[in-house]
């Protein structure tokens, strides 16, 4: 179960994943119905699943309301803002997400040493 981010703990986990190849899931969304329920709204979303990267180091920064995480790659960066909750699941993956007041996911950043499920989880 996800729980509110404990920054020192998350920093330790981020450190443990550094300098080795990891798989990253990064995502943000305001939902597929944003402009359906508010014509002035604009649907915005992006995700990348199983980016295979190695980061030199990473940091978690408190913003008061939530957290930002940045991972420094040899040739670039991975960045997420608005993270509020985290969990280390049974596969030792670091799952972080930011939820709104109704529990809806707004942003997610996940780090794993093994690939995330990328095909449909279930075939007939």
């Amino acid at each position: 179960m996800m729980e509110p981010i404990k920054p020192e703990k998350v920093q330790d986990i981020i450190d443990n994943f550094s300098e080795k190849p990891v798989y990253v899931h990064l995502e943000t969304t305001n939902g597929a119905y944003a402009s359906h329920f508010n014509e002035k709204a604009h649907n915005v979303g992006a995700f990348i699943r199983n980016a295979h990267v190695t980061y030199e180091h990473g940091k978690i920064i408190s913003t008061g309301g939530g957290y930002r995480v940045g991972l420094k790659l040899e040739l670039g960066w991975v960045y997420a803002e608005g993270l509020t909750d985290y969990e280390v699941d049974e596969h030792n993956r670091l799952l972080m997400a930011g939820h709104d007041e109704q529990g809806r996911l707004m942003v997610a950043l996940e780090i794993s040493e093994t690939p995330f499920a990328h095909e449909a989880d279930y075939h007939e």
Partner: protein, 216 residues
Amino acid sequence: MSDYKRVIVIFPHPDDETFGAGGTLASLVDAGSKVTYWCGTLGEMGRNMGNPVFANRETLSTYRKKELDEAAGVLGIDVVHLGYRDKTIEFEVLEEMVTHLRTKLEEAKPDLVITHFPGYAVHPDHDALGRAAVEAVKEMKEEERPDVWMHAISNETSEDLGAPAILKDISDYWDTKWKAIRTHLSQADGMVDLINREDQLERLKTERFYTLDQLQ
């Protein structure tokens, strides 16, 4: 007795069946139809995680699959999973999906297919799977072709398409539909939010479907 012996429902997400057609499906089952939901994805990328949050991005599909099984039990329908991935259906090769669905339809021999109205179903997965389903039916031999009812959602629906051919007052099945909605626990809050909007509640109590001749 129902006019339809064999009904195939083709939507992309666990809960589309309940939200868009739950009352109609329950009434068809009541009248003797055998109804199977071909569910396109497991809704892996949904943003509702329960309220309070109990699912995460990696566990959501497991919850949603279980919730769908329960909802199907409430509605009296069977479930078959098509094995696509949430949010990605529009990027699959359309012809491959059409062949996949046509082959399965020729085998299942339904006399009614219920799907989304392509272009008027808001969510890109709805539009893409609806398009594939409609094309699949059109490719079938005329004598084997089932009736098609298409669910439209977009705000421009009435203005652009006029009145739907099929208008189902599902008041008699509202309790069943409501119960099915509640089984989709990870998603229920987002739905209940809608139900608090009078216009949306009205939409949920009258299920509307367009027929193939209304396709533009």
